[in-house]
Symmetry: C2
Subunit: 193 residues, 2 copies
DNA sequence: ACGATTCGCATACCCTCGGTATGTGAAAGG
DNA sequence: CCTTTCACATACCGAGGGTATGCGAATCGT
């Protein structure tokens, strides 16, 4: 076995993060016990506190990871299209589809706001997935596809709509019906001119 | 002092509920200590467990109370209008305004889904405020003001949009801008015919 | 190359706080 | 008036987050 200190550190951190993610997604933040996460990761609670300042700290790192992955998924779905409007639609659909992932559902959409506080949650959301949304809306407004307007409130409206609908789909809602409703909603934003 | 047993029971229960609501709204569920709530209500932890089966039980009762008040506020705002469309708009605006109430914000929108689980939260939401929304949409669809479509996904979209935007306003977002964005979004739903 | 130092973790411990089991005195019931 | 019920209080338990400290192995300075 190799034994570089930096390597070992990274390995342990990843193991904790991976196990934490599994459990946070499956059981929810509150029911996860940190010592069990550490044990399953092959270390003890001491290691967890060496890498993260608290249970919430591990959770925060997990949120960051899941957020980033989600942002990439959404972005890559959007990038497959040339048309700005289709980019928005594709990104939104990708987000709705991501709601089936328990990690996204439980960690990002349900627990994160309560555990980290809405402010911090929103800040993290902004720097990953939500940013794409505001950028897309800004571009659409500049291109005249939607009315020129402050994009921030509109982005919040759509972000909330997507979050809630993703959860609804995950709990048995019809994905196709959701996409159609979303399409109607988005279509209503286009300039009538 | 009078001393009917039923009276005393009601008094204590209300005191616990009121104090719990204050603290849940101010500090968030996790940071609230049940014994402190009881002490501030003039009783001990034993009383709290006599009235509610757990800390989550007290929280659940609090959620119910806040939800119901919110539902009434929204409904009464809507009822001030004759026109179905104006009822929807008024209800939505009332909801956004309610987001300034810390109890609504923290208890209903942030903590409740995490503490009670999304399913139970949604069930409670449904029997108070969200129900009005689906009813309004159904009526509008029947009246031909909006396209005939499954109302459930649309209701989820709008409900999520309102929740998130209420939080955004509470954290410094411009209420007027939010209402305008909401109006555009809703207006897009009207039948073009 | 070898002592000094850092560092990645383990071990042992504390303490808060949710939950429970049991006691008690005063109202309700017969 | 005696019994029962009931609305709490009191005492206790244990889980689990957080901390203080020890230790052995990698890293560094000379």
């Amino acid at each position: 076995m190799v034994v570089s200190r930096a390597e070992q550190r990274a390995v342990t951190r990843q193991a904790l993060l991976a196990e934490g993610r599994r459990r946070f997604a499956a059981d929810g933040y509150h029911r996860v016990v940190l010592a069990e996460v550490a044990r399953a990761a092959g270390v003890t609670k001491g290691a967890a506190y060496h890498h993260f300042d608290s249970k919430a700290g591990l959770f925060r790192a997990t949120v960051r990871q899941v957020q980033q992955e989600l942002g990439e998924r959404v972005a890559s779905a959007a990038e497959r299209h040339e048309d700005l409007w289709e980019q928005l639609r594709a990104g939104c659909r990708a987000f709705l589809a991501a709601g089936t992932d328990p990690a996204v559902r439980r960690i990002l959409l349900v627990d994160a706001p309560a555990v980290l506080g809405w402010d911090e949650w929103r800040a993290l959301d902004e720097e990953s997935s939500a940013r794409h949304l505001t950028e897309a809306l800004t571009a659409l407004a500049e291109a005249g596809v939607i009315d020129d307007q402050p994009v921030e409130p509109l982005a919040r409206l759509l972000s909330g709509a997507l979050n809630e609908t993703a959860l609804w789909i995950a709990r048995g809602g019809d994905p196709q019906a959701a996409e159609q409703a979303l399409d109607r909603l988005l279509a209503g934003l286009r300039t009538s001119a």
